[in-house]
């Protein structure tokens, strides 16, 4: 079982997302996160899917995704060097001075930004790999987390390799 990050260029048609989501549920594939947004070319959307499976299952997932008529191109980023980023907004309870100091310190260590402050809460923006984000949540274990919002993973290959039509 290995984690794979799969990038897709898909026709920007109504229902394209439901075809992908439907494929994963119908075939009982794992899906850790899925992000989708338009690209610089308005006819195309880019999707990033994080999934976990054996080599055989990942091979089938890739083949089945390629088989969807709307999928124009696909790249398994995990096959080569790549960069992975996820953004999180997290709201933490900071009722006392020491809590405020501690959360600020942790946020600095993880290179987060405190983007909203109230007398009793800090909202922090943090970008990084999914593991970095997991670690930050772990680091906040002693605090009361009020809310987390994660964007899901976006990824891109390093160097000259591009996913483009």
């Amino acid at each position: 079982m290995r984690r794979h990050i799969i990038s897709i260029l898909i026709e920007n048609e109504a229902g394209a997302l439901s075809r992908v989501a439907g494929l994963f549920s119908a075939r009982a594939y794992n899906i850790e996160s899925l992000t989708v947004a338009p690209t610089e070319d308005p006819t195309l959307s880019r999707m990033t899917i994080v999934t976990v499976g054996t080599e055989r299952i990942i091979e089938q997932i890739i083949k089945q995704l390629n088989k969807l008529i709307d999928v124009v191109k696909l790249l398994d980023l995990s096959e080569g060097p790549h960069i992975e980023r996820e953004m999180m907004l997290i709201k933490v309870k900071v009722a006392t001075m020491s809590q405020r100091d501690d959360v600020k310190r942790l946020s600095d260590i993880f290179r987060g930004n405190i983007i909203d402050v109230t007398p009793s809460t800090y909202t922090i923006e943090l970008t990084g790999s999914a593991t970095k984000i997991d670690s930050f949540i772990e680091a906040l274990a002693e605090h009361k987390i009020l809310e987390t919002v994660r964007s899901g993973v976006s990824g891109i290959a390093r160097g000259d390799k591009i996913l483009h039509v």
Binding site: I10, S18, R19, R56, Q60, K67, D70, V72
Partner: protein
């Protein structure tokens, strides 16, 4: 030329070369029906249930190789069509299904007869479209036919909101000759390096096996397959879907494989050392126990759909491409190459296979005072010179039809393999008969299945379709009864059919001929009498032995060499299945 959406739709079908449109009207498609009324290029066939429209279009497609076309209304029209769409999807049959939809402005408001047809059909179509703009209609129809009939074929749904077909809005008509889709470009030509590797491997085989499937029929590659098989001299088996792609009467054909395949085909699969799979998808009814599938074999696989390759069984030499194209290249290498098949080894292999053959796994009791279903199929084969189109429903009768008819030509055996849809047989036969009005079209069915689309007897009368219905009436949901006998200690839970209609009177009340046969002595004469009525639909209600089972049988999840054999064969394997499942 300016046309309305409804006129464009009909005109596109004509320009696409569509002969028949199988359909049923309703509110959302009335503009289209009005346009149909004003032309006579396309013949509309009014079925009695939308499921039958899809099966009829499907039967037409399987027999002709051309996409079948369906028109149904929104809501219940679309949902009734779903079973037929899924049936076509599972067997990779090209089909274009046009569903009416409520007007664009009210989509999503739970309008009268609104269902999300695109959403409901999404998991059982190759692709589907919702037309949002009448200026895109013609292009969408072109795309639908292109997607349905190229690559691995399949059904495509076009959902057309009523306002798109508004007769008051006219726009210029243009039907594209060709379409290029950047996101869909099926691979046709196989990788030459892989093809060469495959040829080399094939020629090293001492115990080779050729396993072919529906892809050979779909890819129209029987000719190329015959060249390959004859050149190599290897044994060949086909799946249920591949029957007829290689002549059943040929010496090298060792029968169907799989759950109800022949002893020799399954044993040869188990023992082979090189296997070439051609347009077949390693279905679980074929492989049996995955861990013991062809245990000592290297495997070559030709398929146009990369996702069919190494899905359940990992193969050694994958070749993505169209069967006919790949086989042509392979045949060329074989015929012009210097290396020949391993002659000595092959002779020894054939001796083993012929030993298995001699065990006569297809024997049955020929002296019974009851009508044996196998005997009926054999007789039907004889009376029709093995040259009929045969559709079937699902159950024991389907397996007997597959085992005993002996198809020598492709596109003649028409059945639902992947979905196993009872009710398929009669409407499919209508589609075939319309395509081939002068040929004999038979529907081999059971008293259970035929009742699932029996209303189509009315359609057959309306269009004068002289289908011959051969109902093997065992008063049981026989296939269910067989499993209950074998695996549920004979607890026949709801598999017995009571209160059956009098099928003879039923056929007569629909304006057809009914013949009941219950004596083996009159079987031949009565069949001959019915088949002589060339222009009438004849319903043969044949009272068969209730307790007959389909043999051989590999229980689900068992290996190829664990077959259960008929008590009438000479086979060494266990004759009756161990009782499983407590």
């Amino acid at each position: 030329m300016e046309l309305s959406g409804a006129e464009i739709l009909v005109r596109c079908l004509k320009d696409e070369g569509v002969e028949f449109l199988f359909g049923y009207p309703g509110g959302s498609v009335l503009h289209i029906y009005d346009a149909l009324y004003q032309q006579d290029d396309i013949k509309h066939i009014l079925v009695r249930h939308e499921q039958a429209a899809t099966h009829a279009a499907d039967g037409y497609a399987r027999a002709t190789g051309k996409p079948g076309v369906v028109l149904v209304t929104s809501g219940p029209g679309a949902t009734n069509a779903v079973t037929g769409i899924a049936t076509a999807y599972m067997d990779s049959i090209p089909m274009v299904v046009i569903t009416g939809q409520v007007p664009s402005a009210v989509i999503g408001s739970d309008a009268f007869q609104e269902v999300d047809a695109v959403g409901i059909t999404r998991p059982c179509v190759k692709h589907n479209f919702l037309v949002k703009d009448v200026t895109k209609l013609a292009e969408t129809i072109k795309k639908a036919f292109y997607v349905a009939s190229t690559g691995r074929p399949g059904p495509v749904v076009i959902d057309v909101p009523k306002d798109i077909t508004d007769p008051a809005i006219k726009i210029p008509y243009h039907y594209p000759d060709k379409i290029i889709m950047r996101s869909y470009q099926p691979t046709v030509k196989g990788h030459s390096g892989q093809i060469k590797r495959a040829v080399d491997l094939l020629l090293t085989a001492k115990k080779p096996m050729i396993y072919t499937g529906g892809g050979v029929v779909l890819g129209n590659a029987s000719e190329e397959l015959r060249t390959l098989v004859r050149h190599l001299g290897y044994p060949i088996t086909t799946t249920l879907m591949g029957l007829g792609s290689y002549p059943a009467s040929d010496e090298q054909f060792i029968g169907m494989l799989g759950m109800h395949g022949t002893y020799e085909a399954n044993m040869a699969m188990h023992d082979c050392d090189v296997l070439i799979a051609i347009g077949a998808r390693f279905d679980d009814r074929v492989t049996g126990k995955i861990a013991e599938f062809c245990p000592d074999s290297q495997i070559i696989h030709i398929d146009i759909d990369p996702s069919s390759i190494s899905k359940t069984i990992t193969v050694d030499v994958p070749i993505v491409g169209d069967v006919a194209t790949v086989l042509q290249e392979m045949n060329h290498l074989l015929i012009t190459g210097k290396k020949q098949p391993q002659k000595k080894a092959l002779e020894a292999w054939w001796a083993v296979i012929n030993g298995w053959r001699a065990q006569q796994c297809m024997s049955f009791d020929r002296n019974s005072d009851k009508i044996k279903p196998q005997a009926v199929v054999e007789l039907v084969h004889e009376i029709t010179n093995g040259d009929a189109y045969v559709t079937s429903d699902v159950g024991q009768h389907q397996m007997w039809a597959a085992q005993y008819y002996g198809f020598d030509k492709p596109n003649r055996w028409i059945n639902s393999g992947g979905l196993g849809t009872m009710g398929f047989g009669l409407p499919a036969a209508m589609g075939v008969q319309l395509a081939f009005p002068d040929d004999v079209v038979i529907c081999i069915t059971g008293e259970g299945s035929i009742q699932m689309c029996i209303q189509e007897l009315s359609t057959c009368l309306q269009y004068g379709l002289p289908v011959k219905i051969v109902a093997l009436n065992n008063r049981y949901l026989g296939m269910v009864r067989q499993w209950q006998e074998f695996f549920y200690k004979e607890r026949y839970s709801h598999s017995y059919m009571e209160s059956l209609p009098d099928f003879v009177k039923l056929a007569e009340s629909y304006g057809h001929v009914g013949i009941r046969i219950d004596d083996p002595k009159t079987l031949r004469a009565e069949l001959e009498r019915g088949f002589a009525m060339k222009d009438r639909l004849v319903f043969f209600d044949i009272v068969t032995d209730q307790t007959e089972n389909v043999y051989p049988m590999i229980a689900q999840g068992k290996a190829h060499n664990e077959m259960h054999m008929s008590p009438h064969s000479n086979c060494e394997l266990p004759q009756s299945p161990e009782r499983e499942l407590s």
